[in-house]
Amino acid sequence: MLYSMRLNSAILGYGAYVPKYRISTEEIARMWAGEGSGPNRMKAVASYDEDALTMAYEAASIAMKMANYPEIQAILVGSESKPYAVKPMGSILSDIFGFNKILGVDLEFACKGGTEAVQMISGMITSGVIKYGLAIGSDTAQGRPADDLEYTAASGAGAVVLGQPNGKEIARITHSVTYVTDTPDFWRRPKEHYPMHLGRFTGEPAYFTHIMSSVKLLFEETGFKPSDFNYAIFHQPNPRFPVEVGKRLGFKEEQLKPGLLNDELGNSYSANTLVALSAVLDVSKIGDRILLASFGSGAGSDSFVIEVTSKADDDDYIPLRERLKNYVEIDYATYSKWRNKIIR
């Protein structure tokens, strides 16, 4: 199914949170294959006292401060690793931020829960139902020990505070498109700790078909072409796929490079493209245009046109790539303990 929407919402603040800890894929390979590495160098690992909710709070706090703490009326949290199967993060976060007259809801669509939140809140703002909303993607992604996914399944959170354009916004979201089909590339049944996937099937019929379909429709709807964008962000399940899909769609490497983070952070699922958006907004200039296309297994892709209108007004803000320089590497034993891979 294809549908598209013209939007008129504004990014008033943005934030990304990546945990302090990393595990190298060489260390994971040492455990299961004796040698080698994964497609990426490292992945970010949440500490023992972190989960999707605490990371969502961290990312949202950065975004809320940048937006000067507006009166939020909706918090939507995309995640496939909720701390509770039943008990929403949206309500817990609403309480922590002190907003109770609010829509506080969780969303799930594999790796695109975060962009669904952006799309839905943008829709509510464009239609005038709410003035301000907080969209978050946060995950402590799980990979079965020794599975290919274990090399990339990582932790992180991204958040944007959205509101009506007021002349002081950082960027405007002007258009969005979604493409969805029933594609069994990746799934997790109830009560299962780890997801299942169909290996190479996750490439062509899933990732590439859905992202290319949504981006091509976005081009048809808006009349834009790749050269109209200064930056392009594609979901990053590994370092290769976003570069390959960008190339197929006609983007150049320099349009992609500022948002590429998989090599050092892995795939933080629902947070993936929102974390990349933070990195791109950090370096973008007024007048720049950004294409963002997420991918969620199951499967679907949300694409957005984002136009940069001003720089963030927050003296305390530290750009994402600056913060990423401060990390600590852990071994497989510590990673196993912290991410509940040891049964007692």
Binding site: S47, D49, E50, D51, L53, T54, Y57, Y84
Partner: protein, 129 residues
């Protein structure tokens, strides 16, 4: 922990809600019913600042049973920017990096949980900035 007691106090644990004396302006965390400085009972809720300075710390290698899996724990006395002193854990800390005088910021982390099927208790911890 007891879920209902945690729920009643959640504003203290997640938002650092303390109290402020309306008569003399003294601030407290945790909140008090009677001002220790002027004796007034006219106090209001006050959210504490989220930044402060480490004034003392210790490494706990034998923490209470609820926190056993998280050992070692780094506990610190933090002088918040309004002068109020609070006790809190330092998150993401390696023992060799903590110093008295370091600036910290409050964040939300898991304190503990009632096993695999019980409540997760979230609350403030401080991270070095």
């Amino acid at each position: 922990m007891i879920p209902i007691a945690y729920w009643r106090n959640r504003k203290l644990y997640t938002r650092l809600i303390g109290s402020r004396c309306k008569r003399c302006g003294a601030e407290y965390y945790p909140p008090v019913k009677v001002c220790k400085k002027c004796g007034s009972v006219d106090l209001e809720e006050k959210e504490m600042p989220k930044t402060g300075t480490i004034i003392s710390y210790t490494k706990l290698t034998e923490p209470p049973v609820d926190f056993k899996d998280y050992s070692p724990i780094y506990l610190a006395m933090i002088r918040l920017d309004n002068g109020v002193t609070v006790l809190g854990q330092i998150a993401d800390a390696e023992s060799e990096e903590i110093r008295i005088g370091m600036r910290v910021m409050a964040t939300i982390r898991k304190w503990t949980e009632d096993g695999q099927n019980g409540i997760i208790y979230y609350g403030y911890k401080f991270k070095i900035i």
